[in-house]
């Protein structure tokens, strides 16, 4: 026999068959033409079966206690249809005897099957379906599983594990174990035994959704089988909470049964099971009470709620921690910003001839300017822009600014100063970061200027509102090559002003497509030429801010005034 069983691979000869006498009766029952008289004669030929059927028909479970003494009386009282179902159930029960599957607890299987049967019968009664059909469906719907074990005896060790799974998990596990499932095998078997269609279809479609060609009344029996499966599993599955909640949802969905009525149906199950077991000659032993089921389900719910509570707690702590880190980070950034502001000069006066303004787009800036009075009365100044943005740009800016401020006090030649700063920067430069810078010195008395432009935007010289000269970069930026040679330009600034700026001014977006550009910037410089220096810087920046859509980059502007 194969380890794996696809429905197509099952040889009909391998399937179990009921005892000969019973099988003959099943076949006869399935023929509509068989009348009560013929059925009675057939049954009388099998005295063992006759006794069995009379016992079942007379049991408390079927409600004819002690009234039926002969087969013909049985047919007259309980009807041919009910009798047919009883015969079928007995036949199926006897089709596989315990001896044929020695390692399998056939009793447990039939106890579970009987539980499905009483659940299906109770649900059928409740929903106006035929109760005997319901009972038979419940009893037979998982018969395919016995067949799967019968065909794959090496898998029998898996049985106890399967038995305590909820129907959906059990179904998935079966597919893994057998490459096939009990519903498909069961349906095939039912068809080969010519069982009525509502039985074979319910056996085939109590896990899968019934196909569209199945009519409504038979679909109802498929749903009945599905619900009975879950109702029985409430008592047998390990995860009672999941099973119970699924069971309640299914009964509501297919039969509109509210939860409280489902509870009533389930609470009767144990009593019905013992009666039915007695009728069929089983000993079902002690069963888990429905109260115990509810208790276990509630405990599970409580545990899950506790887990959720714990998860909520953890989440709350993580969020608190995140807020704390964010607050800390903000504090650090505020501090960094404050340190940066402190690097900018504050003693701008007319005596110095140098004025500056800086606006950061982010918390920290990659731009800076500086100026300082030298001991000989001259003023050293610079404006610079570090490539890139954010904290790493801000740190490089701090370093460059410190070097300028420190070395600039004693080194008054801008080109030599830049050579020194460049060598210091290059030792620690990373990621290709570089600094464009203009460094210079002005004598406020004479307006003599010396400046060196290293890769920075051209310095604009204005006479009142007109541009008169530009001083573009003569050498590359700082931080690229140690051997860079920097060059000075010398000129007298009398009557004129120098405008030094960073690309935040030049590249400010005035529309989605258009940037400020040099010409427009020069016009703005010219527009406020008559204003005093400090006010002029504010007007220029205010004008730029007013026309730019969004401030993307830092804006830094330095103004050097020649004597008039």
């Amino acid at each position: 026999m194969a380890n794996h069983t696809t429905v197509e691979s099952i040889n009909p000869a391998d399937l179990p068959i009921p005892p000969e006498g019973a099988f003959r009766i099943i076949r006869a029952c399935n023929k509509e033409s068989t009348d009560a008289h013929q059925l009675g004669r057939l049954l009388e030929r099998d005295p063992v079966l006759t006794i069995e059927i009379l016992r079942i028909a007379n049991s408390a479970y079927f409600g004819f206690s002690g009234k039926i003494t002969t087969v013909s009386r049985a047919i007259a009282v309980i009807g041919q249809r009910t009798l047919r179902h009883i015969v079928l159930c007995v036949a199926m029960r006897d089709a596989l005897k315990p001896g044929q599957l020695p390692a399998l607890s056939v009793e447990t299987f039939w106890t579970n099957a009987l539980r499905r049967a009483v659940c299906a019968r109770a649900l059928a009664t409740h929903s106006g379906l035929d109760d005997d059909t319901g009972f038979t469906i419940g009893l037979l719907q998982d018969f395919g599983l016995l067949v799967l074990f019968y065909l794959n005896p090496n898998r029998i060790a898996e049985w106890p594990g399967l038995a305590e799974l909820a129907p959906d998990d059990r179904y998935a596990m079966e597919r893994q174990l057998f490459d096939s499932t009990h519903d498909q095998v069961g349906q095939q078997l039912a068809e080969s035994w010519n069982l009525p269609q509502e039985l074979s279809l319910a056996m085939g479609f109590h896990h899968r959704h019934p196909t569209h060609d199945i009519d409504d009344s038979k679909t109802q029996y498929c749903h009945l089988a599905q619900c009975a499966d879950w109702m029985a599993a409430v008592f047998t599955s390990a995860d009672k909470r999941h099973t119970l909640s699924n069971c309640q949802a299914l009964l509501d969905k297919h039969f509109g049964i509210p939860r409280v009525e489902t509870d009533q149906l389930l609470s009767q199950t144990n009593e019905l099971l013992s009666e039915a077991a007695q009728a069929f000659g089983f000993d079902v032993g002690d069963q888990v009470s429905y109260d115990a089921v509810i208790q276990q389900a509630n405990m599970r719910l409580l545990e899950e709620n506790q887990n959720i509570q714990e998860m909520n707690w953890e989440l709350e702590n993580v969020l608190k921690e995140r807020d704390r880190v964010a607050a800390e980070l903000k504090q650090e950034l505020d501090l960094a910003r404050e340190v940066q502001r402190s690097l900018l000069p504050t003693d701008s006066t007319d005596q110095l001839s140098v004025f500056g303004l800086n606006l950061s787009a982010k918390a920290v800036s990659g731009d800076f300017y500086d100026f300082l009075r030298l001991h000989n009365g001259k003023v050293a100044f610079c404006i610079a822009d570090v490539s890139g943005k954010g904290m790493h740009a801000a740190l490089l800016m701090a370093k460059t600014s410190s070097l300028f401020h420190c070395l600039g006090k004693s080194l008054h030649d801008p080109a030599k100063l830049l050579t020194m700063i460049n060598r210091e920067i290059i030792e620690t430069s990373i990621h290709g970061m570089f600094i464009t810078i203009v460094a210079g010195v002005i004598d406020p008395e004479t307006s003599d200027v010396v400046l060196s432009n290293a890769g920075h935007l051209p310095v604009i010289r204005m006479r009142h509102s007109q541009p008169v000269a530009e001083y573009p970069a003569l050498s590359p930026p700082l931080g690229i090559m140690p051997e860079t040679q920097f060059q000075n330009e010398k000129f007298n600034l009398k009557h004129d002003s120098l405008y030094l700026y960073t690309d935040g001014l030049l590249e400010a977006k005035i529309t989605a497509q258009e940037r400020q550009g040099k010409e427009r910037l020069i016009n703005i410089f010219g527009k406020y030429a008559t204003k005093p220096p400090v006010e002029r810087l504010q007007y220029i920046i205010a004008n730029l801010r007013q026309h730019c859509e969004e401030m993307e980059d830092d804006m830094t502007l330095l103004l050097i005034e020649g004597t008039s």
Partner: protein
């Protein structure tokens, strides 16, 4: 999306394109550095570059610095007008070896002189 890289005449040619700005420059940087890590001589083709900002330039500068440390060739070819104006403004045309094309680079015996 990464940039196209092809190998020709003993060089890895990294073709940058479009706007090489703060959002794209990390990709450009990685492409250039990957080639250098594999000890390949690198040419960066800027023919299709429409805009390059300081972070984009920094990627080129880093490539240039790394190539010097590793004694590998590094040059720019086919520099577009948009990229050239940025490089010239910052006098970076004094830093990078710049050639019109791969052929122009091959015609030069030693680009580093």
């Amino acid at each position: 999306m990464g940039y196209k890289i092809e190998e020709a005449a003993g060089f890895a040619i990294v073709h940058l394109e479009g706007d090489v700005d703060l959002s794209r420059s990390p990709t450009a940087r990685q492409a250039i550095l990957d080639c250098l890590q594999e000890r390949q001589h690198v040419l960066v083709d800027l023919t299709a570059v429409t805009y390059i900002d300081s972070s984009g330039v920094a990627s080129l500068v880093e490539g240039f610095q790394v190539s010097r440390r590793m004694s590998l060739d590094f040059a720019l070819i086919g520099v577009s007008d948009a990229a050239m104006s940025v490089l010239q403004l910052a006098r970076l045309d004094q830093v990078f070896p710049i050639f019109a094309s791969l052929d122009a680079r091959l015609a030069q015996a030693d680009p580093k002189t």
